[in-house]
Amino acid sequence: MSELAYLTIAEAGRLIRARQLSPVEFTKALLARIAATEPTYHAYIAVTEELALAQAKTAEAEIMRGDWRGPMHGVPYAAKDIFDVAGMATTCHSRLRIDHRATADATAVVRLREAGAVLLGKLALHEFATGGPTLELPWPAARNPWNLDLHPGGSSSGSGVAVAIGTAPGALGTDTGGSVRNPATCCGVIGMKPTYGTVSRAGVFPLAFSLDNVGPLTRTVEDNAILLKAIAGHDPADPASAHRKPADFTGTLDAGVKGLRIGLIAHFYTEDMIAAPEQSAAIAAAADVLRRLGAEVREIRLSSLQRYTECGRTIHLAEAYAVHERDLQERPQDYAEITRKKLLPGAFIPAVDYVRAQQLRTVLCAEFAAAMRDLDAVITLSSLDLPCRIDDAETIAKTYERQCRMPFNVTGTPAIAVPTGFTAAGLPTAMQIVGRAFAEPMVYRVAHAYCAATGWCERHPPVKAAEREKSLVE
């Protein structure tokens, strides 16, 4: 059972194509594992068992008659419950959306359906992709797979957890200020925020229009590239969708890093803010690994982390409030306290500050582009801290300010979170690898070389299952 649970997308795709793995059996195994683990981990809001089995049967029949569609054909995945799936509620993990019913699939869901993928269900998140773990909501908060008492990161919390515990080989998340990379960091998996405009946001509930991205979470870099390939590409239904053909995300995965020039943005976490020693030590060791693999790694300087973060935060707050204003006026009590606290400040941001932040964004994007002119990629930390207790709202709120992810929502450039090791307490640490706009192949290339050299991605958390279902996960 655990062999199937931790099968990668790439391996499963190859076995399915060769008719050595039945998509139906694979799907059934994952559905059983979901049933066994959900009482403990709460990664899923809704399991689409009937749909999943129907899609798996269709995929199997197509493949048996020789109509193989590609590497996602017959492969299961799950989506953060912020993506529309026709006929289902897009709850956004909120009481306000219980009665919602989507009339059409989000573009990313359509693309995966067309690729022959199998939707296992919809995943937990922070309310409206911005709140935090709380007992106030109609569904429980997802739990950190490495320590159930800890925060799994967010807002794509269920996406990180499901991938880490082997109840989905890949998942869709969204990232406005780090919401794919944070759960990837806390759960010890791979999370990619692609270049703004790479994946359509049509049918995805918005948080902040000019910062929102759809991104994949997976257990390997190769899987991440495969999943991104399946969902990327221009979509006229999204006004921000990039008018370009997606690059070949997998073609240069094995090219290595020898001769590459990699910048290290250390001042974000050694001067602007001070990171936990375990995170700093892990990225220093990661830089050494990249050097040993033949890359030239040197420190670079940008504007302060606070300047990037404040720019992004101002845009985020103003745009998110515009989305939620009416509900905050009419039914503020229906939001969880943590969500209200995060959304309400947007009501009071002066228009001039929003414009100033967008002007500042222009300056910061130009600064980052100039820094990248003689670099192939940069690395920096993802989270400054280790995951804190899931019931410690005050510390969780602080950790959202103590991160290096927002700068790359501001610049719109691709950024991937990859594990850099484990602390003595067994918690994952992580770094980000960042590239120029639309340079996802380079980001994946560096990430793949690093992960292959270190093997951190091959560790899985000790999965706890409900007693009655224990045999299903062993």
Binding site: Y196, G197, S210, H234, A240, A242, H243, R244, K245, P246, A247, Q306, R307, E310, C311, T314, L317, E325, L328, Q329, E330, P332, Q333, E337, R340, K341, L344, P345, G346, A347, F348, I349, P350, D353, V355, R356, A357, Q358, Q359, L360, R361, T362, V363, L364, C365, A366, E367, F368, A369, M372, T411, G412, T413, R436, A437, F438, A439, E440, P441, M442
Partner: protein, 76 residues
């Protein structure tokens, strides 16, 4: 000595006035502390601007990261 205006209001009154102006009467009545914190956060300064910032810098309103450097990929 500063002149005292007849319109001087307390912090709490200011928060209430701002909340009402934004249509947040209900939120203010139910969650006054959260609204007060939101006013403080929302009206806090964006901070000093970098040297290259100018008041006539074009804002990134229609944001296109490709304008700021291109890694790869072909335009369609």
């Amino acid at each position: 000595m500063a002149e005292k205006s007849e319109t001087d209001i307390t912090g709490a009154q200011w928060v209430r006035a701002l909340a009402l102006a934004r249509g947040l009467d209900r939120a203010h009545a139910l969650f006054p502390a959260a609204v007060a914190a939101a006013v403080a956060r929302g009206t806090s300064s964006l901070g000093p601007q970098p040297a290259k910032f100018s008041a006539v810098t074009e804002p990134a309103v229609t944001f296109d990261p490709a304008e700021f450097g291109d890694g790869s990929g072909e335009p369609t």
